[in-house]
Symmetry: C2
Subunit: 337 residues, 2 copies
């Protein structure tokens, strides 16, 4: 057989990079209740020596790699991209490739093994966002990295392993991925035409229309986006323009944590604890502040039997059987404690 391949490859036909990682046991490592010592979960307190040394921790007591932390970030056990090496970006005939260089980290959300994000105390959700911000700020110092994908998979329908410890993944990529490139291009076009950010424009529209608003406070609008890809897709969007998550002021991140927690609690009540993906959508990290890009947090509940069909594979379009106006009304009216 061939030797292992660990590289980024760009499809010249449809565009977009794929990470080929043939020495990877499986897809972006979600962690089983993987045996540390005595068969305990190795992300649990007391098992710190079963993981690579921590990159960051917020703690009430103890020293590095000891118990006492509230949030802890470690390198991924089985990273899809590796920090060591050089990119060696090059053409290969009609193709583009580079080595599989990047960062892949795990943010352990809380010391409690199976506490959902919605069930953490408000300050603990703030800890999670603050820890993400610190990792963004640290990773952008690596000039090879151009984008950070930060996300959590909650539940098996969302790609998580069964009974895993609550965790986020942070992937630092040496390329700007397709969806973000498209957003930057669309945003720039809108800005060139109107001298306004397209997301700022649509927030105005959403406030005036009101039908797709799920919740709102001074700092955030929680909306069902107009062209929702799946039932109950939800965006948590800062009212004040800003392109980079990691540059958001402290009080905005605190409000973001509150909005994330409240929205997840609302979904848990209305949709009976759905599996979901939550992602931070932010501008490419090596860019300065951009007038045409607007960061936000997206939640994609995974409630439909949604294996993906030939329609999605062939077109990258989607069919959504729930109108966002309906979804917003249902979530808006949910009784939340």
């Amino acid at each position: 057989m061939e030797t292992a391949v660990r590289e980024l490859r760009r499809d010249p036909v449809t565009g977009g990079w794929v990470i080929i990682a043939s020495d990877l046991s499986r897809e972006p490592g979600e962690f089983l209740r993987h045996p540390g010592s005595n068969g305990k979960c190795r992300l649990c307190p007391g098992e710190e020596r079963s993981t690579p040394p921590e990159l960051l921790a917020f703690r009430d007591s103890g020293g590095p790699n000891e118990p006492g932390w509230r949030v802890r970030v470690i390198p991924n056990f089985s990273p899809v991209l590796r920090v060591e090496g050089t990119l060696d970006a090059a053409a290969e005939g009609p193709y583009d490739r580079m080595n599989g260089i990047g960062a892949h980290e795990i943010l352990v959300e809380s010391p409690v093994h199976d506490r959902g994000l919605a069930d953490l105390a408000p300050d603990r959700v703030t800890d999670v966002l603050f820890a993400l911000r610190e990792r963004f700020v640290d990773l952008r110092r690596d000039g090879r990295l151009r984008y950070i994908a930060a996300f959590k998979n909650q539940g098996e329908a969302a790609g998580a392993a069964p009974h895993g410890h609550g965790q986020w993944q942070i992937v630092g990529l040496p390329v700007v991925p397709k969806r973000v490139l498209a957003e930057a291009a669309n945003g720039l076009r809108h800005y060139a035409a109107h001298d306004r950010c397209v997301v700022c424009d649509l927030l105005q529209r959403e406030v005036a229309d009101a039908r797709r608003i799920i919740a709102a406070d001074n700092h955030f609008l929680v909306i069902a986006p107009y062209a929702s890809r799946v039932p109950f897709e939800t965006w948590i969007v800062p009212r004040a323009h800003g392109s980079h998550f990691e540059n958001a002021p402290q009080h905005v991140l605190e409000a973001a944590a509150g909005a994330v927690r409240a929205t997840l609690r609302r979904m848990n009540a209305a949709l009976e604890e759905p599996d979901y993906n939550i992602t931070v959508q932010s501008a490419p990290i090596q860019e300065g502040s951009l007038a045409h890009f607007h960061w936000r947090i997206e939640i994609v509940p995974r409630i439909t039997r949604d294996a993906g069909s030939g329609f999605e594979w062939g077109t990258d379009a989607r069919v959504n059987p729930t109108a966002p106006e309906e979804a917003a009304q249902f979530l808006r009216e949910a009784l939340v404690d």
Copy 2:
């Protein structure tokens, strides 16, 4: 609650159209062993009166909507887009929308309820491609339609209902979907720079390199694409340039049917009858012949636990744990009868 919504909406932030179909019971209708008379499958012979009148049939005996057909095309029972009405494309504030106009048809692959495409006789696979071609040619006469997505979902992991009758879906769209737009833009850029089709270029490269070739004959190259999105993704590409599937000469479509059948039999042998999606990727139907677009058939096996994670939702990028060189070698060496 809101009234039902049936429209196409474009996301101004990331681009791309979504079909919102809130009066749809579920996603693009795969058909359960849906009771016709006496609880029989209504796609089976003898149940023709349980379906809408047929749009096309190739038959050995009988008249329209009678048994005796080899392949049969009918309107979808629960279409995501409807033929009747006007598009009424319009801006809605910062958004773009149009009515949910289009075509949605079912191609019943064979009279036998649970015969896989790979297990049909060679001439029957040719019938399927010829029937698809006839529907493309008929649908392009409707000037409102701009693209046809033709695909089959095989197995539950690929989005099919359990125990359904072997079928393709044909969706005529009033817009060109994102993946096809990207391909046309990339192809045009390559053509502008080099006066060559990018797919013709990569076929040359693949022949010279040989590592990603699964099979080849005079008319088709079967390859594991350089930037495969999933393990064992396979493209069946005509060697001769052509932009439109429906304009391929008869002998090329016959060769395509042979290549599809042989490739699926190869996958069945090597990967133990995997679930898969198969799609026809062709140029927008209202365009004349394009020098920069190259039609093909794509197969996406669904063998990994591939729920899709926050990484894919946030970036539209993918991680593939199997190098295409490895996949091609494995399929190339499979013993096929």
